[in-house]
Every structure is written in C-alpha cells, then in structure tokens.
C-alpha cells in the first residue's frame, strides 16, 4: 500500500491574478447593488439586472474561451471573481446553473453548434438554465429515469415528468435527462437533451419549498419537441454528461457557496465583538471550529479547481467538497442562531431563514448518504475486488 499524495496542489494566485482582483474590487465597490429586495419576485428581477451588469463589465465567464463570449482566462480568475462578488450585497448569479454547470458541460461534451447557440446567452442571462434530472421515481437512484424521448428523424419527442427543478419557472432552457433508447435500462440509453422551456408541451408548476419560496418546480413534459442536434454528447451518452454536470455542481458551485458562508461568519463575529461576547471562551471556541471548517472547505475548493484546471480530477473527488460543505453550512447557522439567542431564534430573519435553508444542502446535488456511497466506492475502492 502506498501513501496518498502529500502535499496536493491547490490554486495559487499569480501577480496578474492580484491585478485582476484589485480591478474587480474597485469595480464592485463602485457598483455594489446593496441587499436584494425581500420580495421573491422582485429579488429575481434584481438578480437578473445584476448579472447583466456584471456581464457588461466583462466579468461573467472569465474562464470561458473568447470565441464563446468569455475572457479566455483560467479558473484562478473565476475564483477571484467569485471571491470579490462575495463582498457585495448580491453574491449570487441568477444563472449560476447555466454559467457554472450547463455551460462547462456543453464545452466538455457538446459540439460547436451547441456552443455557438447556447453559451453566449448564458453569460448575459438572456437565457437562464435549469437542470432536469430528478423525477418522482428517480431521485437518489437517478438511473431509474422514466421520461422518454422518441427519436423521430432529426427531432425528439419528449414525454414525462421532472421534479424539484430549481428555477424552471425563470429558465428558458433545460438540460433534461431522458431515456431515448426504447427498452434500455439503468445508465444505458439515456440522453441529455436541451429543451426549450417555451415549447407548448412544457408545463411548469410551482412547488414551494419549506420557506414558502418558489425555488423549485414540477415540470410536466407532454409531446415536447426537441432536436437531435441539441443532445449534449450525442444520443445514448446522457449518463456521462449528466455525471460531469453533477461534478460541476460539486465544484466551483461549492466554492461560491463557501464565500457566502464566510460573509455570514464574519457578520456573526462582528455581532460577538459588538456585544462584548468575543472574549468568552465558548464563543471563541465555537467560532474557531466554524472558521476551521470554512478554511478547509476553501482549501478543498481550491484543490478541486486546480485539479479541474489540470484536467486531473479523480472520479468522485468532488463528493468531498459537497459533503464538507453541507456539514459546515448546517453547523454555521445552528451555531449562529444558538449564539444570537432566543430573540433571533424565535423570529423570522436572515439567520433563521438560512438555518432552515441549510437543510437542503445535504439533499440537493446528491444527498449526504449518496456522497458517502460515492466516496466509499470511487475514492476508497471498496468492493472493487468483489
């Protein structure tokens, strides 16, 4: 048995990255939009305008090739942008599913035509994206997909149902996983098809989440017409493409989230400093634990980006990022509400909102239990000899 790699590479920033950082920081300071409106609908509109403004400044798709509307820089630039974005009141992109997940998957698996058609509108958010994987009978067991796509010449006619589809109601496109090979089973015969959400056969029904917000939806697909040329990675290769997309969901996505959590911890620390509680042993210890968790999350995120940049990510490794994120996020808000006391805990506010929202992290993008399965099989190789 040989020991694992030590030290592993993480992302290191060069002088030109720091120059970019200074530039973005100055821009953010001058253009900070402040906190988003409370009202959910207004919030979406504000987020849309915000991404468009960021795009106008040239900051969306920093790592994308110039021919697709990006800046041709690397993932370091992307990390710098995320970190600086986090200093503003709206640290989130409305089309993060497109920019961080669907776009990169198209660049990896799609063809030039798809890249031409779909990448640019992701960046300026004229076309928002959603991810149509989960179905009523296919959650953790994603290979149990039942939605069907009947190939008819150059068209695909899709029938079925998706569920928990985040932001489907504001999305123009959906990366939809369907079974295109009749009689196929499990991971075989699936295709990742780009569906136009304006197709008359698409019916999006709100499914309020636990805070009453319209985060996700049910999506009914009745004779929806898509095109064979819009299959990412070609017919029958849907599983590999979908897995790649999920690994992106557990990569840069996680790094971005970590930055929001850092903001929350800083705010909590400031509250403790203001109220004079920062000198209490217990307070220091608990903040120390969360700080530690967040720093390791960042280190792991940087490690993942370095691996992605070198095209050298071990299968299943991003489950570490996802799992650690869910632990830290849930700990952070539980600790915050506990330290801030009943006045905060009993009322509805950003802290209690985030405490509740935190329950989703260990479910979306593959539940905790599924991540543990992946780690034990793919990273530890358990059962490989059986």
């Amino acid at each position: 048995m040989t020991m694992g790699q030590l030290p592993v590479e993480t992302l290191s920033f060069r002088p030109e990255d720091e120059t970019l950082r200074a530039e973005i920081r100055a821009w953010m300071a001058a253009n900070d939009p402040g906190a988003p409106p409370e009202d959910f609908e207004q919030r979406l509109a504000a987020l849309l305008a915000w991404q468009q403004k960021l795009h106008g400044a040239g900051y969306i798709g920093l790592s994308w090739p110039e021919r697709y509307g990006g800046s041709g820089l690397d993932l370091r630039a992307e990390a710098v942008f995320s970190e600086e974005l986090a200093t503003t009141g709206m640290p989130e992109l409305i089309n993060r599913i497109g920019v961080y997940m669907c776009g990169p998957t198209i660049m990896d698996f799609g063809d030039e035509g798809q890249a031409e058609r779909y990448l640019r509108p992701m960046l300026d958010a004229t076309e928002s994206w959603c991810q149509g994987f989960s179905e009523p009978e296919a959650g953790s067991d994603l290979a149990a997909i039942r939605s069907r796509g009947r190939v008819d010449g150059d068209r695909i006619i899709i029938n079925g149902q998706k569920v928990w589809t985040s932001r489907a109601h504001i999305a123009r496109r959906c990366a939809c996983l369907v079974r295109t090979e009749p009689g196929s089973e499990r991971h075989h015969g699936l295709s990742l098809v780009i569906v136009d959400m304006e197709d008359p056969g698409v019916n999006v029904v709100a499914l309020p989440q636990m805070l009453g917000e319209r985060h996700f939806n049910e999506v009914f697909l009745d004779d929806v017409e898509a095109r064979v040329e819009d299959v990412i990675g070609g017919l029958g290769n849907g599983w590999a493409a979908a897995m790649r997309m999920l690994s992106y969901e557990r990569g840069l996505f996680v790094l971005e989230r970590q930055i929001r959590l850092r903001r929350a911890l800083d705010e909590l620390a400031d509250r403790m400093l203001e109220s004079g509680r920062a000198s209490e042993r217990g307070v220091r210890e608990r903040l120390g634990r969360i700080h530690t968790g967040l720093e390791l999350l960042k280190a792991q995120g940087y490690r993942t980006l370095a691996g992605q940049a070198a095209d050298d990510l071990p299968a299943g490794s991003t489950s570490i990022d996802k799992l650690h994120l869910s632990r830290v996020e849930q700990d952070l808000f539980a600790t915050a509400v506990d330290l801030l006391g009943p006045e905060v805990a009993l009322t509805y506010n950003q802290w209690t909102h985030d405490l509740l929202e935190g329950r989703s992290v260990s479910i979306y993008g593959g539940s905790t239990e599924i991540q543990l399965n992946i780690i034990s099989k793919q990273l530890l190789g358990l059962g490989a000899s059986r």
């Binding site: 620390a269 403790m272 920062a278 903040l287 120390g288 720093e295 940087y302 570490i320 034990s376 059962g383």
Partner: protein, 345 residues
C-alpha cells in the same frame, strides 16, 4: 504549483521503505508494553538515515528541503510511528539550534546533533499556563524550550528538572519540564523564534495525518476481506459510510496541508494569515486523524481493540500529538481568538 523536489520525493520513498523494515509492529508493541525505548541498534539505524538535515538549509549543512517535502516526510514518520524523540530532533531541535547558531557555543552543538552524536528533547510551553512536556530521547543532553515566540536552549545538567511520567504513548521518554532553575545556554525572541515553533507544530500535525492515513488503508483492506453474514463487511453500508467519513476527514486535512504549502511559497500571503492557517491546521488535522483512527478501530471489531493488531499504537501517537498541541478545545479556541482579533482590526 508543485514544488516538491525530486530529492525530497526520493527521500520520502526510500524512507518509507527502510522504516517499514526497521519498525515492525512487534518491536513497537514491546517498547510500548515496557515503556522503554526501542533497541539501541534500531534507534542508531534511524538516526543514521541522515534525516537531521531535512529542515536545515544548505548554508548550515542541511538538505534545504522546502515545506512541500517536509510535510511529506513528517507524514512518513507518522506512518511508521517513528520514535517521537527523533521526530522532535528533526523538526524541532535542529531548526531551533539553526536560528541560535550565531550565539556562543551553539554551532558545534548543532553539528553534533545533526551527526547524531548528541541528543536533544523539545518542549512546547503551553500558551495558557506555561506547562511543558518533552519526549526526551535516551541519553539526551539538551532541551529546546519553544515558547509562543521565544526559543531557549538548555543543558539538562544546568538545572533543568525533568519529572518522568508514565506516558500513554509509552516508550517515548515523556517527562514534565521545569526549566525555571536553569540559565539558558542561548535564547532568541521574536518572529524567527515564533516561526520555528509554528513549523514544528505543523510537522506534528502532518505526523498525525500520516499515522491516520495508514489506519484508513489497513481498514479499507480489512473491510473488503473480513466476511460476516456470508459477505464482506464492506458491503454493509454502515461500514462503508464509516470508512467514507474517515476518508472525508483526511481529505479535507490533506487539502488544508496543500493550501499552506502553496501559501508559504506564494510569498504574497502575509505572516499573520499564515499564522492563522497554521493554528487552524494544528486544530483540524489532529482532530481528523483522531476521527479516522477511532473509525479504524471500530471497523476492525474485536481485533481492533486487541493489543496484538497495534491500532492502539497509532491511536496513542495521534492523541499525544493532539494534546501536545493543546487539545481539541484549546486549539479551537486559539483559532477563534486569532480570527476575532483579525476581524476587530
């Protein structure tokens, strides 16, 4: 930005091999049972491996290996449960004497120490109450006392009081240190001294990591082999998830160690940021190592609790590292205090 050197990688590989031959479980168990050092020949062989120059720059006659190599070597030492006293000389005493070398009489001592002719113990004085413990090698003559930002070098015969304790990580010469009655032979305060302490602490954390990673490997292999209910225990999800939790703990630690190596090389990071990072790792890595090792014992069932398998050797070492560094809650508190202090600026 991987700056591990070919020399360092080779050294780690050959060290891994030779230590595997010198340190078998039986010898380690015996030393632990009798609370005695390993036989003189094996100690001499290990001292003769030439590791004392690892953390010493070339100007002072060392190998000048960068941090990237040093963290790996520390993990290799942990993997094989190398005597703590030897680890302390390599990563604590030698670097300390190197920064004191321009003071009267120290340079010849450093030469003798790196040649293996002289032995020294290291003690970290507690940040809260100043208590200090050392793992004094047999025949040790010197004590390096590492305060938060002060190094003192003492000769044991000059009035250092050592009270031998019954060590949990037995056979390592654990003693409580009282150096108040001794005049240091040499001393240094300030940033350079603080850095020696922090790098020493990081090497302890990496040692614990190496020990824990080994227990995970052993456990994953065992879980695929051990059959119960007619199938390998790794096919039970509860067991597979326990192993995955161990992996999670170690991989986030691995990322953290990688991060500090990169930060250290960037030269851009300010010293205060590095300081907070080291404190963070001194808290996180031993805790992760402990989680992994406790999981390893559980995965093995009865034999995990047995004397003969020896997982307790790793457990003893990891616990020792965690508490030499201050313990779980004290290290967390230090991180929190440091973070809050930065935040209030």
């Amino acid at each position: 930005m991987s700056v591990a050197t070919p020399e360092g990688i080779d050294l780690a590989r050959s060290l891994d091999e030779s230590l595997g031959k010198i340190l078998d479980t039986e010898a380690l168990l015996e030393a632990t049972r009798d609370d005695l050092p390993l036989p003189a020949e094996s100690t001499a062989t290990m001292v003769g491996l030439g590791l004392h120059g690892v953390a010493l720059d070339e100007g002072s006659g060392g190998l000048g290996l960068p941090l990237a190599d040093r963290v790996r070597l520390a993990a290799v030492l942990g993997r094989h449960l190398v005597p703590a006293g030897l680890r302390d000389e390599i990563f604590g005493a030698v670097p300390a004497l190197a920064v004191l070398a321009d003071q009267d009489g120290v340079a010849p001592l450093l030469d003798r120490l790196t040649e293996g002719e002289l032995r020294a113990g290291v003690a970290l004085s507690s940040r809260s109450d100043g208590a200090a413990y050392t793992l004094m090698p047999e025949g040790g003559e010197l004590l390096v006392l590492l305060g938060p930002d002060r190094i003192e070098l003492h000769r044991l015969e000059d009035g250092v009081e050592l009270t031998a304790l019954n060590g949990l990580d037995a056979g390592q010469g654990l003693s409580r240190v009282d150096a108040t009655g001794s005049d240091p032979l040499a001393s240094l305060a300030g940033e350079r001294a603080a850095r020696v302490r922090r790098e020493y602490e990081l090497s302890l954390a990496c040692e614990a990591f190496g020990a824990a990673e080994r227990t995970l490997e052993i456990s994953a292999e065992y879980a695929d082999q051990r059959q119960q209910f007619g199938r390998p225990i790794s096919s039970f999800q509860a067991v597979a998830h326990l192993l995955a939790e161990m992996k999670l703990a170690l991989e986030t630690s691995r990322a953290g160690i990688g991060r500090i190596v990169d930060l250290d090389e960037e030269n851009e990071a300010d010293e205060a940021e590095l300081e907070l990072w080291r404190a963070t790792l001194a808290h996180a890595v031993p805790a992760a190592a402990r989680t992994a090792c406790e999981g390893a014992i559980q995965v093995h069932g009865g034999i995990g609790f047995s004397w003969e398998l020896g997982l307790h050797l790793h457990y003893r070492r990891i616990l020792a590292v965690q508490f030499l560094l201050g313990g779980d809650s004290a290290t967390a508190e230090l991180v929190g205090a440091n973070y809050l202090e930065r935040r209030s600026r």
